[in-house]
């Protein structure tokens, strides 16, 4: 086994442990946005797709790398945008809580 491969394996294992530690603390409420956020992160495959695209010389490799780049970009852009939209929903709306208390006098006395 080469030094490079062993270094890559070390990084791989430590990144797995990192992922386990980060996620176990997240409350259930945020699981869907979190899954979507993690889903965007594996869009990093775009970096690899560009590496193969720039070296593609025969038509098959060019078609494959074009699809790979398009797929990966869709993953990145769509993933982050839809996650952001979900998280925008969680913004506190300061106006919404007040009226309930103010209008309690309207309750009919029947």
């Amino acid at each position: 086994m080469s030094v490079e491969l062993f270094a890559a394996l070390t990084v791989f294992v430590l990144a797995i442990l990192c992922g386990l530690a980060v996620i176990s603390k997240v409350p259930a409420t945020l699981h869907t946005p979190l899954m979507s956020g993690a889903n965007s992160i594996h869009g990093i495959v775009l970096v690899g797709s560009m590496f193969i695209a720039v070296e593609a010389t025969d038509p098959i490799a060019q078609i494959l790398s074009f699809i790979a780049v398009a797929f990966a970009t869709m993953n990145v852009v769509g993933g982050y945008v839809v996650t952001d939209r979900m998280l925008l929903m969680f913004r506190r709306k300061p106006a919404a809580a007040a009226p309930a208390a103010a209008s309690s006098a309207d309750k009919p006395s029947a």
Binding site: E4, V11, A15, I16, L17, C18, G19, L20, V22, I23, A28, T29, L30, H31, T32, P33, L34, M35, S36, G37, A38, N39, S40, I41, H42, I44, L46, V47, G48, M50, F51, I52, A53, V54, E55, A56, L64, S65, I67, A68, V69, A70, F71, A72, T73, M74, N75, V77, G78, G79, Y80, V81, V82, D84, R85, M89, F90, K93, A100, D106
Partner: protein, 477 residues
């Protein structure tokens, strides 16, 4: 090891910064207050990593010269994929969001598989026998990426309710045998290639088997289990991307892929736990069918009491504390705006309204929160299970809309399919109103003892229509 050029050093620093942003972004997604910021941090890290890669590929000197066609491919691919991603992500309705996430997952897995396929074609063209680590990573990338590609497409189709991918489990005669045979083909082919053989046909057979495996694996699983499946496939994609990192010897792919692989696995387990199922049970297609499964008789035989709209409206309007329990049925009926309207009506009469959100309410954990937030329900009213359970005793009315198994008191006893599943203590409320279309069973396939509780009134209606009728009735009081 030779020293890196200045350009390569800088690009590697940028990749490292990107990886750090991914980890810190995920940490910040722990709490609602910092979650959006965390996602933006992660997106920023992604932008840095991608721009650095483009700069590196433009200015590196590897002796092959400038490949104009390659850059046209990159520009066109980014324009097409980015445009599609941006358009769909911005226009999708929040109720349809889980299937879009699954679609994005599919294309991510597809891209990872294509990288390995391209790499293998290159090796084959030059008759280069790959080292063991490259052939292991290549085959794993192709297999996992292909399974995740077709599996996520099927999962997405099931959530959309497409005819070719119905939400209910599809049982192909001998389907499990086919799936097992495909798995065997993949394993045998992988071993053949790992033993030092270079064979394009074998690689193509593995590819085809993995693509079909993704379909046969996902088709028999019921729609209610799709969240767990999507989460599992998300984890698969992460792993496939890490494998692509080994194929290309690119550390940022390895880090980000492993991070997502691990996080997806934990998330999958949490989701399955909340439903009291094991992941293996779901993948094999246990009792998720909802039909023809065991019914467990409750201790109290009792008859079902049905209640009319007006009676229910009076109960709600003159209550002090109302807890609304939204479930899958509310999400399906897209009744989140109707429930918000009812809550508004009640609040304007001085009723204190809260929502009890079970960890797996909706189609994914947290999905219900997103749906209700979209309908402008104030975030502080959305209460998690542990937080709200003690308050059911003080609630005058618990209004259950489209939730079933998560309210079944049978879960507190042993020996039922839902035993041990954490439930909302709806039966502790002074009175209970259940809006439901029929006495049909939930996806666990058992009767809900809550419905025969003497305190419970059943309001038989579609969630959206029933809520709209309640709003009108409360207004008229």
């Amino acid at each position: 090891m030779p020293d890196l050029s200045l350009l390569e050093t800088l690009v590697r620093i940028a990749w490292l910064a990107g990886a750090v942003a991914f980890v810190l972004g995920l940490v910040r997604m722990n709490s609602p207050a910092t979650a959006r910021n965390g996602n933006l941090l992660s997106a920023g890290g992604m932008a840095v990593a991608i721009v650095a890669t483009i700069v590196f590929l433009l200015f590196r000197d590897n002796g092959t010269g400038f490949n104009a066609v390659g850059w046209v491919i990159i520009a066109a691919g980014i324009a097409l994929g980015g445009g599609l991603g941006l358009y769909t992500a911005r226009t999708v309705k929040m109720t349809a969001m889980p299937q879009l996430v699954s679609l994005f997952n599919a294309v991510g897995g597809g891209a990872a598989a294509l990288i390995a396929i391209d790499d293998y074609l290159g090796l084959n063209a030059t008759s280069t026998l790959p080292s063991l680590q490259v052939s292991v990573a290549t085959v794993l990338d192709i297999v996992i990426g292909s399974i995740t590609f077709t599996g996520s497409l099927i999962a997405s189709g099931k959530l959309m309710g497409l005819k070719i991918t119905p939400s209910k489990p599809v049982m192909i005669p001998g389907g499990q045998l086919v799936t097992a045979a495909l798995a065997l083909i993949v394993v045998a082919g992988a071993l053949y290639l790992w033993l030092g053989n270079l064979s394009l046909p074998v690689m193509l057979v593995i590819l085809a088997a993995a693509l079909i495996f993704g379909v046969t694996m996902t088709l028999p699983i019921g729609g209610a289990d799709m969240p767990v499946v999507i989460s599992l496939l998300n984890s698969f994609t992460g792993t496939a991307v890490a494998m692509a990192g080994f194929v290309l010897d690119n550390v940022v792919l390895i880090i980000a892929g492993a991070l997502v692989g691990a996080s997806g696995a934990i998330l999958t387990k949490l989701m399955a736990d909340a439903m009291n199922r094991s992941v293996i049970n779901i993948m094999i297609g246990g009792f998720g069918g909802g039909e023809g499964t065991v019914a467990v008789a409750g201790p109290e035989g009792g008859a079902v009491r049905s209640i009319g709209i007006d009676d229910a409206a009076i109960q709600l309007a003159y209550a002090q504390n109302v807890i609304i329990v939204p479930g899958y049925g509310l999400a399906v009926a897209q009744a989140q705006h109707a429930v918000r309207e009812l809550a508004d009506q009640l609040e304007s009469r001085g009723v204190n309204v809260n929502y009890a959100i079970h960890p797996v309410a909706g189609r994914m954990p947290g999905h219900m929160n997103v749906l209700l937030a979209e309908a402008n329900v104030p975030y502080p009213q959305l209460r998690e299970m542990e937080d709200i359970n003690p308050e059911f005793e003080r609630a005058d009315v618990a209004l259950v809309v489209g939730a079933n198994d998560v309210t079944n008191p049978a879960a507190r006893r042993s020996g039922t399919p839902v035993s041990g599943m954490p439930i909302l203590d709806v039966d502790h409320a002074r009175s209970i109103i259940v809006i439901k279309r029929s006495m049909g069973r939930g996806y666990a396939g058992i009767d809900n003892e809550l419905y025969v509780n003497p305190k419970t009134g059943m309001l038989f209606a579609d969630a959206k229509q029933g809520l709209a009728d309640l709003v009108a009735a409360v207004k008229a009081l």
